[in-house]
Symmetry: C2
Subunit: 378 residues, 2 copies
């Protein structure tokens, strides 16, 4: 057994690594494809043949075989297990209701800490698209080496444009860490900037996009969580104490609903950076958070013969003098005539028609539908 | 009984009048709403609460109570009777397959002639929109008076723009007919013109649109049909001879498939005009043949609060910064964001997305689908 071997000799740093995949987030701007019952991570948005969560799991697999934990809503249990049939029960953490990323990642850290306080966790969202995989894995290996030196390590994405949709990471001096030649200190995390500010970030060469990837010793994660969010830390500790006992469900059911909702960035990453405990490995891979339908157009370019990118096996699309994206979750015939850069998302109970330019505004429709009580399609 | 009273005194010219409604034509440019199984005339395209065929029947009703004949495809029997439950069996003529307007109208004429050779028929397509009804009826009354003098009378529509989508009628001198002060001779029917030619027609004030409305003694219709299309005339005579006998089905089944396909304009109206037998009553009503979805936008303007015109009871439409027409035959939620003058037609098995400007090109989609074998949605 791997653990027996590890115990018999100085523990290999990679053997301490456990993956954590928080699988939450409906992906409102991908409505009506992505919705409460079938969120973004359960879709194959790239045409690879894998859902985003399956691809995320496979990307981590070689780094932590059998040691990847998924944190998701209890309503997604069946769908997640259908995607990851090999996932062991001990690696599936179910939330009775969404409590934001600090609770999800913090609970994973607290459970893992009780199983082995030396664990280094790596948290990667279930709904991002990353290529090539080997470049990603090399960055994670550097992050693991860096984390072993006592850092919370984020993998920063080199910005390709002055995005106002992401937070940024401001890097400091290089760190001299064996096995992690590209590790840098992190001075601070900054919120989504205005466009002029984002331009400045891009020109300085000092800023990366914050993709929410964190590799860290669970003990260090919990230390910062305790310092910054003592109430959340106390609740998570109570749940984690009983997690691997027959009291798991009872305790979680009692404590979880009372936990504060806060993002991991505020609860851990930002204060840890201020304390000098955060490092960054530059991610030199292609990364996309598939934030809207325009992203799907980028990830799945139209074929040579057509200006229409079609996603969906059953769709029969006829396009005449038209361009754009068709996402079909039905077997209907779809005819497009004389319309450019259109985005059409066709599902059994809801239809979206917009343009690539307005793809970000889809959440307005979702907000309206929620306000008007049409929640059956959300 | 009306007929006994009529027989007892000189027959009132209006008592000779019988309506005929040819209900054919799929309305290809209204796909996927209008299709083989549910053609244009079976839809309420105006939002009046009546299908087009019901409105057509009601418009004729006061002119020929109980004396309106419908000629339609055998596949539409049930749908037509659902719309016109009062239609007597003797007034329903079923075609086993479409044979164009000369066969449909000619068969009605031949059947009516055998019932009473003095009948004046008035043929009005099932899928036109006309308001106000009393102005239409006044025009038909003038047409009946004119027909009684031995004319095939068409009702010409005063052109509102130089349309290239309609044929035109060139009027001649006024005719002095009692009860028909606006009757004119017709010099000729002309085919759909080019735009410069259409402009000339409009400026001359001598041309009307040909809406395919014909009021004529059945004997005169048949005389011209016999002269111009003897083969068609012979076939129709054979069917009509047996129509009101037990041999109806057998004879029709044998003869109908062999009949030539030709429009009534070529078979009767144009040669009759050349012979000086055609007159015209100007129709001073508003007329629309609902040729495409842009027409639906005209006929059903958007409400004050919205730039989106919605047709369909079940639709839940959310529009943000969008304008155009939504025709819904489902109960799906439809969200439109950042798109102008769009035309969306949402049916259970087919979806059309186009613009008002391109509404005429919908038939290209239908042609493509037919060619590619996707006939299940046509």
């Amino acid at each position: 057994m791997t653990t027996e071997r590890a115990a018999a000799q100085p523990q290999n740093v990679f053997d301490r690594f456990h993956g954590v995949i928080p699988a939450g987030g409906v992906g409102t701007r991908l409505w009506p494809l992505s919705r409460a019952a079938a969120p973004k991570f359960l879709h194959d948005l790239t045409g690879s043949g894998s859902t985003l969560i399956r691809a995320t799991y496979d990307r981590l697999g070689p780094l932590c075989p059998g040691r990847t934990m998924v944190v998701t809503g209890v309503v997604h249990r069946g769908a997640v297990l259908a995607q990851l049939p090999e996932l062991e029960d001990t690696n599936l953490v179910l939330e009775s209701e969404p409590k934001d990323s600090a609770a999800a990642i913090g609970l994973a850290a607290a459970i893992l800490y009780r199983r082995d306080p030396n664990i280094i966790m790596g948290s990667f969202a279930a709904d991002q698209v990353i290529t090539p995989v080997d470049v990603f894995q090399a960055a994670v290996r550097e992050a693991i080496h860096t984390a072993a030196e006592g850092y919370i390590v984020t993998i920063g994405i080199e910005p390709t444009h002055p995005s106002t949709g992401f937070g940024y990471i401001r890097a400091g001096e290089p760190l001299a860490i064996e096995g992690a030649p590209s590790a840098h200190a992190v001075i601070e995390f900054v919120e989504k900037p205005s466009e002029p500010v984002a331009r400045g970030y891009l020109e300085s060469g000092k800023y990366s996009w914050n993709a929410g990837m964190f590799v860290a010793p669970v003990a260090l994660m919990l230390k910062h969580l305790e310092a910054n969010e003592p109430e959340l830390y106390a609740g998570l500790s109570e749940i984690a104490d009983d997690w691997d006992t027959p009291r798991r469900v009872k305790t979680a059911r009692r404590v979880w609903p009372s936990l504060p909702k806060i993002a991991i960035d505020y609860a851990v990453a930002e204060p840890a950076a201020a304390a000098g405990d955060v490092a960054m490995i530059p991610g030199r891979f292609t990364w996309d958070d598939v934030g809207d339908f325009a992203a799907i157009g980028r990830l799945r370019p139209a074929t040579e013969n057509s200006k229409i990118m079609v996603m969906g096996e059953g769709a029969r699309v006829f396009a005449e003098n038209a361009s754009g994206i068709v996402v079909s979750d039905t077997k209907r015939v779809i005819a497009l005539i004389g319309i450019d850069d259109v985005v059409i998302v066709d599902t059994p109970d809801a239809l979206l028609v917009t343009t690539k330019e307005h793809a970000q505004e889809v959440k307005k429709a979702v907000e309206h539908l929620r306000a008007s009580g049409d929640t059956d399609v959300l």
